[in-house]
């Protein structure tokens, strides 16, 4: 893997008093936290807790009703350039797997020779080389999600947002995707991901942000969180009880 992240400038991510109100419903209330370069931050919580919205807000896809989001980097263009996101349902273009990667490389202004080289690397890394000429949208769910990861990887982000990317995958496909996440984290990419899967959080998290009904109840390193969560809702979640 050639692109180890050197001198990352994007982190820390500071979120202050973030609220989101849509159609008179309070979806996120007064969320504040700071994320450092600790490699994998997992936003954990049940469906409807507001995890996806929080990720989209941090990535700049939607605007908050109140509150601020700031990065270590101050140049807005750089901030946007240095992050990527992979969605729960992989959004792939109606072209071949290779052309999906090529598309973002072109968008980011790489020349033809660089594109060719990077595309090969990304396909190899995600184990998709043999599928490169297939139409992306006929690949299996796991392959599609790996392609989405390859595409995000192609633009060399410092921060990668992953929104429930294994929610629709079976265990073996999930395992392959998790390997990639670990690989990316090991190469220095800051991973900010959501999941409702407790075991996945245990496998991947360096730190946990526990979200419940639009509020951030706990923000702690993984070990103390899983061993001794403080809030009742978080405790119940860690015990595997169903939360409403």
């Amino acid at each position: 893997m050639d692109h180890r992240i050197v001198n990352p400038t994007l982190m820390p991510l500071t979120v202050n008093g973030l609220s989101l109100i849509r159609n008179q419903r309070q979806l996120l209330s007064d969320i504040s936290f700071t994320l450092n370069n600790e490699q994998v931050s997992v936003v954990l919580g049940a469906n409807g807790a507001g995890k996806t919205l929080l990720l989209k807000l941090c990535h700049g896809l939607i605007q908050p009703s109140k509150g601020e989001i700031s990065w270590g980097e101050k140049d807005p263009k750089q901030i946007a350039e240095k992050q990527a996101m992979v969605f729960q349902r992989p959004v792939l273009l109606k072209r071949s797997a290779a052309d999906n990667i090529n598309y973002v490389l072109k968008l980011k202004g790489f020349d033809k020779r660089q594109r060719q080289q990077k595309m090969q690397q990304c396909l190899e890394l995600t184990g998709l080389t043999h599928l490169k000429n297939r139409p992306a949208r006929v690949l299996s769910g796991g392959e599609q999600q790996r392609l989405a990861l390859a595409r995000a990887w192609a633009i060399q982000p410092e921060v990668l947002f992953l929104d429930e990317i294994t929610a629709n995958l079976d265990p073996s496909a999930t395992a392959l995707v998790e390997q990639l996440i670990e690989l990316f984290a090991a190469s220095g990419v800051k991973i900010i991901m959501t999941t409702h899967d407790l075991n996945q959080a245990k496998r991947l998290a360096d730190e946990v942000l526990f979200l419940h009904q639009g509020r951030l109840l706990e923000h702690n390193s993984a070990k103390p969180f899983f061993e001794a969560a403080e809030q009742p809702a978080a405790k119940a979640f860690v015990r595997g009880e169903l939360l409403w």
Partner: protein, 234 residues
């Protein structure tokens, strides 16, 4: 029935011989309608895309209006364009009345709302699917439009074919603004109307056969692209 058979045989004879008068109107029909479709595509796609991708006051009103205009009666469009282009009309100075250009304008007016309204639906679906990804990648408006058009290429082709089908088969508008002048503005549909009135059923029938063939061809193309679309959209 005797008449019909004779006319039919005669029509086939003329088709085989490539009767020059017949071919002239076929070629003009295609020229006028294809040009109108291309021009309507330029404007219609842009309007459709803007309506699908932006939010502004009056947007809903324009959408409803476009839907209503999809069913414009061709004769009324012909009348309106006639009044615009006639000597005393606001665009009279252009001197376009009773010319192929006037027919293109009339058909353009007829099918632009259709293409805009249908392509708006195509763009809306695509935008719902891709807007977050494109925003995440930092794509500007031009890139977004180009990407959506490429992703929707097959559906948008179907939209153009629908516009072409409406243009090539209408008679009212081109008759009024073109005037059905032989060697100049006589197209298939107006020729059929005229020749039938004169009792030259074989010419009318020959043209009718070509027109039906073209209409079937357009429909076949729509079906084939739909098949293709379903196969590759995953």
């Amino acid at each position: 029935m005797q008449n019909f058979q004779a006319a039919f045989a005669n029509a086939l004879q003329m088709l085989r011989a490539g009767d020059p008068l017949l071919m002239e109107s076929v070629v003009l029909s295609l020229q006028v309608s294809l040009t109108a479709v291309l021009l309507a595509g330029l404007v219609g796609f842009l309007v459709g895309a803007v309506l699908a991708m932006t939010r502004f006051p009056g947007r809903q009103f324009i959408s409803v209006l476009l839907n209503a205009l999809m069913g414009l009666p061709p004769v009324v469009v012909g009348l309106a364009v006639y009044m615009l282009l006639s000597r005393s009309g606001p665009l009279g100075a252009w001197g376009l009345l009773f010319s192929p250009e006037a027919m293109i304008i009339a058909q353009w007016v007829l099918i632009t709302p259709l293409i805009a309204a249908l392509s708006k639906q195509v763009f809306e679906e695509l935008y719902a699917e891709y807007s977050e990804l494109l925003k995440s990648l930092g794509a500007n408006k031009r890139v977004v439009l180009a990407t959506l058009m490429w992703e929707g290429r097959l559906s948008l082709t179907v939209v153009l074919l629908a516009g072409f089908g409406r243009a090539i088969s209408e008679v009212g508008a081109v008759l009024i603004v073109g005037g059905n002048i032989v060697h100049h503005t006589r197209v298939m549909t107006t020729a059929i109307a005229l020749e039938t009135a004169k009792g030259n059923l074989s010419i009318a029938l020959a043209l009718g056969i070509i027109l039906i063939f073209l209409a079937c061809l357009v429909n076949a193309l729509i079906s084939v692209s739909n098949l293709y679309l379903n196969r590759f959209s995953g």
